[in-house]
């Protein structure tokens, strides 16, 4: 385990014309993310029809066409590796449901890569008010994606090509923009690239000798380098969720003949082992784990990120369900949430939200209607500073601290302790009306009586 490379989810954001798909494709292509056989086949075809010099572009177009037809599953899970990490790429679509998926889905982002185009006019359009880029960048920041990288793309088509002036102009503008969102700009590296030609991607570009390299100034030590690949290798790995108490939200519960009840879910924090006594919340049931399997193979220890099934004793398949959370009964077991307080940002709501509004909250695998019972404060989105006490209404664009009361039993956690169980999307009118992170949870329910103080295991 210790020897394995850490896994990182990288979300790529940018305007439609930023060339982010080309950049992504190029990176994956060069870093061995696409099966060699498919590439060889395409490369041969490219040579045959005389596309030699446009090989990459041609192959990328072919792959895109294949993707569009949904033929190869492996293409939809884009992965590549650097010296230190395994990356899974999420090429952010403009789809309205993507935000909810980024919050609650299986591929929550650890790092965001913002691609902006340096081409004349494209940069100006991409950063305009209505662009999706702003929304994605703001959400990434709000939801705890604190590491941001910026690629200034299409340096090959600036006027004149590879213009240092243009790069600096774009850099200045983007710096203002991401500072407004809340990013510490000293920690954000900027790299001038050409995703199309591959300049500064894997090796330093001879066409931009003026580029003295990117820098990241952070507490953990300053780093610098020249290429995109080096930036990717220098990011900080996500916090070790391994040492935290176990949290495993259930996706499904199966009844298997001759075996019994098998809940399935992904380990978000901590470790699950056969022999553990696990508690399910909010139903408050405890059972022993007899065995664990992943891909039909027995597993001795399930770590964060593992999607596992486990067999439990003496619990009926009807007693637990999707949305329940399993934890170790002797180490901060999960409990029912009476109510919780969250910082939210209102999006896409056509009117005004008042106390009593009750959207569906999607948090980990749970979907429960919650009532907004108190608006505590309205906040400045960037600084988090208070603007107003007890606001009467909230509208699109507002940030606020709000108390939520679930109308059915629910188990959530604070974002600080268990990030994947502490971020959520609120839905109404078939769209995401707000996103939020949970600041505090009130667990003083009847379940509390049955639980002793957390006991340190080992």
């Amino acid at each position: 385990m210790g020897k394995e490379k850490t896994h990182i989810n990288l979300v790529i954001i940018g305007h439609v014309d930023s060339g982010k798909s080309t950049t992504t494709g190029h990176l994956i292509y060069k870093c061995g993310g696409i099966e060699r056989r498919s590439i060889e086949k395409l490369e041969q075809a490219a040579v045959q029809i005389g596309k030699g010099s446009f090989k990459y572009a041609w192959v990328l177009d072919k792959l895109k066409a294949e993707r569009e037809r949904g033929i190869t599953i492996d293409i939809s899970l884009w992965k590549f590796q650097t010296q230190r990490y395994y990356f899974t790429i999420i090429d952010a679509p403009g789809h309205r449901d993507f935000i909810k998926n980024m919050l609650t889905g299986t591929s929550q982002a650890d790092v965001a890569l913002l691609v902006v185009s340096a081409a004349p006019g494209e940069f100006e359009a991409g950063i305009s008010r209505s662009g999706q880029t702003r929304e994605h960048a703001l959400l990434a920041f709000t939801l705890g994606v604190k590491q941001l990288l910026v690629c200034v793309n299409k340096m090959d088509v600036t006027q004149p090509p590879y213009s240092q002036r243009r790069f600096e102009e774009v850099l200045r503008n983007v710096t203002v923009y991401i500072r407004k969102i809340g990013y510490d700009v000293g920690r954000v590296p900027f790299i001038p690239i050409s995703g199309w030609n591959g300049e500064n991607m894997l090796t330093p570009s001879p066409r931009m000798p003026w580029f003295k390299g990117w820098k990241i100034k952070r507490r953990e030590g300053h780093v610098n380098g020249q290429t995109l690949l080096e930036v990717l290798d220098s990011i900080l790995p996500p916090g070790r969720s391994l040492n935290k108490p176990l949290r495993l939200p259930l996706q499904d519960v199966y009844k298997i003949g001759g075996i019994g009840t098998v809940p399935v879910g992904r380990v978000e924090t901590g470790v699950l082992k056969p022999g553990n006594m696990v508690t399910f919340a909010p139903v408050n049931l405890t059972a022993e784990v007899k065995s664990i399997e992943m891909h039909h193979e027995p597993v001795a220890e399930a770590f964060p990120g593992f999607n596992v099934g486990f067999n439990i004793k003496n619990v009926s398949v009807k007693a637990i369900r999707r949305g329940n959370v399993a934890g170790n009964c002797r180490n901060d077991p999960p409990t029912e949430t009476n109510c919780f307080t969250a910082q939210i940002i209102v999006l896409n709501h056509p009117g005004y939200i008042k106390v009593g509004y009750s959207p569906v909250v999607d948090c980990h695998t749970a979907h429960i209607t919650c009532r907004l019972s108190e608006f505590k404060e309205r906040l400045d989105r960037r600084s988090g500073q208070k603007l107003e006490d007890n606001p009467v209404v909230l509208k699109s664009g507002d940030a606020a601290t709000v108390k939520f009361v679930p109308i059915k039993p629910l188990c959530v956690e604070t974002f600080f302790e268990y990030p994947p169980l502490g971020r959520f999307a609120a839905r109404d009118l078939k769209q995401t009306v707000a996103v939020g992170v949970i600041k505090s949870v009130d667990k003083t329910s009847s379940a509390k009586k049955l639980i002793q103080k957390p006991v340190k295991v080992f």
Partner: protein, 199 residues
């Protein structure tokens, strides 16, 4: 362009600084008609676009760049565009935006699509996965194309169906897909999105 009176009329109207001459009597008739709506033009349906967007395709916009103003009525999600721009910087920016618009209008409009990988889970190890797949593929929606699929072992003899689809962003949502597929409640326990990418 719409047949009823809408913002496109205003866009064209405002581009003219005087009534058309009497030789263009149809145009003059239209001009006077629009003039009569002067007081109500602020509350018209539709989204106003740069002038070049109206009329025949592939004709470059020859009107000045002022058509490409920021639409300040947008929901201002991020607010505070308070940087002071010099007149010169503003002019350069607008010039570039105009260039961009002109270039953009010559490109065919791209339909935004996403590639979604779904995990469809059965109830137990005895669910007929062939039938489950048949049910999923029987879902037909405008803007939805099913792609390839495979069965992925989960554990204890249970398999899930992993199936790819490509959707048009404006037409198909993940909630819709989820609801429609879980409606086959005899064989489907749940649906999860395993991957979601731009095409």
């Amino acid at each position: 362009m719409c047949n009823s009176f809408c913002v496109s009329d205003i866009a064209v109207f405002e581009a003219l600084d005087a009534p058309p001459s009497a030789d263009f009597y149809h145009a003059l008739r239209w001009y006077n008609h629009i003039l009569s709506y002067e007081s109500t033009k602020a509350c018209l349906p539709g989204v106003k676009q740069p002038l070049g967007k109206y009329g025949p395709q592939n004709v470059a916009d020859t009107t000045p760049a002022k058509a490409v103003e920021d639409d300040d009525d947008d929901i201002d999600l991020f607010g505070s565009d308070d940087e002071e721009e010099s007149a010169e910087a503003k002019r350069v920016k607008e010039e570039r935006l105009a260039q961009y618009e002109a270039k953009k209008s010559k490109k065919p409009a791209l339909i935004a699509k996403s590639s979604i990988l779904l995990d469809v889970k059965p109830w137990d190890d005895e669910t007929d996965m062939g039938k489950l797949e048949e049910c999923v593929r029987s879902v037909i929606m405008d803007g939805l194309v099913w792609g390839s699929s495979k069965l992925v072992p989960v554990g204890y003899g249970i398999k899930k169906l992993q199936i790819q689809c490509v959707v048009e962003d404006d037409k198909v949502g993940t909630d819709m897909l989820e609801e429609t597929i879980t409606a086959f409640e005899d064989c489907v326990q749940s649906v999860d999105v395993a991957a979601f990418n731009k095409v």
